[in-house]
């Protein structure tokens, strides 16, 4: 096989892995959108917040230490412990549950029956709030997240593939990050468990009922508010998973919240209401932008990854507004 061909395969493989990462964020969006019709812009910031909380708890950081120090002139930073990753993850989960309850109590309850676009803007406000809050709580410096996930290129794969190229060609094997592979496995597990949960448990069935029709669900005795808390908790959990994966990949920092913007075109491709759609949309975007950057990027100055996804979504929207797997949009006066 020619090295050029192998390079292309490598690009596609890396694109698929990147796509999985986008899908992880997009999943959280789809869950909330299905159950409450809210397009949750804050999903990316939730991932950032979850990752920050995880790092903070793991390293025993004192929350709001900067503020406390500034107000009282003290100099505290750490409790002086280092928790094992699993304990920190559990505590972070509790924090995300609390967060879900607070969001329901303070925001969603008051915005029932508002137009979707108002709810969307409310979540933008929530995103800003959380961004400031997270930074105030844990500090805004770039943090290193280490929960024991291996990273770096996979030597095994490189050795395996180096023999594929023709003799004497300058080819060193495929480079695929171990972290990306683990993320793929995690994403697959997540999707399977979410599907099982929504198909075979009582709560899952209630979730689907709410997604189908709010009023009908209310009339058979499903508590809308309880469902919303559950949905936001699950979204918080997905955000935590996404935050851990992205955080381990590129450090816990502000740019993490921008992946929410990347998830938007993923959703448009896959459809806002379809979990498999989120995955496939993510893969298409991931492969598409890597291939575009690889083939056409050098001709027009590179860094096309910034906009390719959005323009692809834009073109796509014109032909199929409901996405690949979304429900058909029917409008009545």
């Amino acid at each position: 096989m020619s090295p050029q061909f192998l390079f292309t395969i490598e690009v596609i493989a890396n694109g698929l892995m990147a796509g999985v990462m986008y899908s992880l964020v997009a999943l959280g969006f789809v869950l909330i959108f299905k159950a409450s019709g809210i397009f949750n812009y804050a999903q990316g910031v939730m991932a950032l917040f979850a990752a920050m909380t995880l790092v903070g708890i793991q390293n025993g950081q004192v929350p709001f230490s900067h503020l406390i120090n500034a107000v009282f002139g003290t100099n505290i930073h750490h409790f002086g412990w280092n928790l094992p990753a699993i304990v920190a993850i559990l505590i972070t989960l509790v924090v995300m549950v609390l967060f879900a309850i607070l969001v329901e109590r303070l925001i969603l309850k008051h915005l029932v029956n508002q137009e979707p676009i108002i709810l969307f803007m409310a979540t933008i406000g929530l995103a800003y709030f959380m961004e400031g809050f997270g930074d105030l709580m844990w500090g805004s410096e770039i943090k290193i997240l280490d929960v024991g996930i291996p990273s770096g290129g996979s030597l095994w794969l490189e050795e395996k593939t180096i023999g594929w190229a023709a003799e004497g060609s300058n080819y060193y094997g495929m480079y695929i990050d171990k972290l990306d592979m683990i993320a793929t496995v995690v994403a697959i597990l997540l999707v399977i468990s979410l599907t099982l949960f929504s198909q075979y448990t009582k709560t899952g069935r209630a979730l689907r009922a709410v997604a189908d029709d709010h009023q009908a669900a209310l009339s058979v005795g499903i508590s809308l508010r309880k469902i919303w808390v559950i949905v936001w908790t699950i979204a918080g959990f997905v955000a935590l998973v996404a935050g851990v994966m992205w955080g381990a990949k590129s450090g816990v920092q502000f740019s993490l919240s921008l992946i929410a913007l990347k998830a938007l075109p993923v959703l448009i491709l896959g459809g806002f209401t379809s979990i498999p759609g989120a995955i496939i949309g993510g893969l298409i975007i991931g492969v598409g932008e890597k291939l575009f950057e690889f083939t056409i990027g050098p001709l027009i100055g590179g860094a096309t990854e910034n906009w390719f996804a959005y323009v692809l979504a834009l073109v796509f929207l014109v032909f199929r507004p409901q996405g690949l797997f979304g429900d058909k949009i029917i409008e009545r006066v």
């Binding site: 508002q114 406000g125 929530l126 400031g132 860094a303 014109v318």
Partner: protein, 358 residues
């Protein structure tokens, strides 16, 4: 003297539909204009102009533009930063290509260029709406910023990739470049803002504005009663982009002087303007002003209190600012979806009856 309607008789239709039907409002309006044009220029210093007043004037123009699109026509746009960049770069190209051109013509020209670009990105709005459209405008935002970064023609092949505003005179006074006096810059922006505000007010209460509002309230119903969605939506995009482009041109040439596109016209700028119209009031001319004033003044105020007054580090002040802005957005959407403009309207109604509310 009370704030009263009594005794203010209207004898013509024109009198009845004027913008300020109350005599006291009219007096107040002319008074504000007179102070803004005749008194303020003499009180200005450099700090006030560059920290508060110029950003306020320029963002008010941008907010007016976005309010036309989002508040009046109901099409959410997250591409404001990108369109401002178009205005800025059009302004730069016009300024350098035609050094003799009057600055008013340059600014209007940049607005027209932006309107054309806005039309182009408005075309998808015919098929999609709501946050689907918001995503489509995100494409405009990222693509335009990337374009201005990557194509050297736009920044005249300068080594730094920045654009710098050369000095231009207006009636003998420098209004751009390093020698411009605060008062000259202020007056130049003020004239444009007042003119555009009058245009916006009259557009939105005329036939065009009513068709925009019909599309906003229910587009399918509007289509059935004979509002042409193609014309209406695209005209909203064009007019809105014109305003935003003018704001971008002023932001670059008069306010900053030198611009690096990703920094000055990033996605945060789009959100900032969107927040201005949410807090100020969707679908209100006054609201655009109120929102711009609020979001320009609040950070300055917070910074002065927390950094200047309490001596906290600047990063904490910045975080608290985020918290407050985000919290306020949610609060306004829950408690008063029509923003500061509605509060102002309620206050006026109460004042009309005060002190005998029954």
């Amino acid at each position: 003297m009370f704030y009263r309607q009594a005794g203010d008789f209207k004898t013509s239709y024109r009198g009845d539909i004027q913008t300020f039907p109350l005599k006291q409002d009219r007096i107040g309006y002319y008074l504000v204009l007179a102070i803004a044009f005749l008194v303020v220029p003499f009180l200005l210093n450099d700090y006030w102009v560059s920290a508060v007043i110029l950003p306020f004037l320029i963002f008010a123009i941008a907010a007016l533009g976005l309010n036309i699109l989002t508040g009046y026509c109901g099409q959410v746009s997250l591409g404001t930063g990108g369109f401002m960049a178009v205005g800025a770069y059009a302004c730069y190209k016009l300024m350098t290509a035609f050094p003799e051109m009057n600055m008013f013509v340059v600014v209007l020209g940049s607005g027209i260029v932006t309107a054309a670009v806005g039309l182009l990105f408005g075309i998808p709005s015919l098929r999609i709406k709501g946050f689907y459209l918001a995503v489509a405008t995100l494409a405009a935002q990222f693509f335009l910023v990337w374009l201005f970064n990557k194509v050297p023609w736009f920044y005249n092949y300068s080594a730094s990739g920045q654009i710098n505003a050369p000095e231009r005179l207006m009636m003998g006074f420098a209004i751009t470049g390093p020698n411009a006096s605060p008062a000259a810059r202020y007056l130049f922006c003020l004239v444009i803002l007042v003119a555009l505000a009058v245009v916006a007010r009259n557009l939105t209460r005329g036939r065009v504005g009513r068709s925009w509002m019909a599309i906003r309230d229910m587009d399918i119903a509007a289509e059935i009663i004979g509002v042409n969605p193609l014309k209406t939506k695209l005209s909203a995009f064009a007019v809105s982009s014109f305003f935003v482009g003018v704001a971008g041109a002023l932001f670059f040439s008069v306010y900053l002087g030198a611009v690096e596109v990703t920094e000055a016209f990033g996605i945060n700028q789009s959100f900032l303007v969107l927040f201005m119209i949410i807090i100020g009031g969707l679908g209100s001319i006054f609201g655009s002003f109120a929102g711009a004033a609020f979001l320009v003044l609040m950070p300055v105020l917070l910074k002065n209190i927390m950094v200047g007054g309490l001596g906290w580090p600047t990063d904490i002040a910045a975080h608290i600012e985020f918290i407050i802005v985000g919290g306020l957005i949610v609060l306004f959407l829950i408690a008063e979806p029509h923003g500061l403009a509605q509060l102002w309207r309620i206050a006026k109604e109460k004042l009309l009856l005060w002190p005998f509310p029954h």
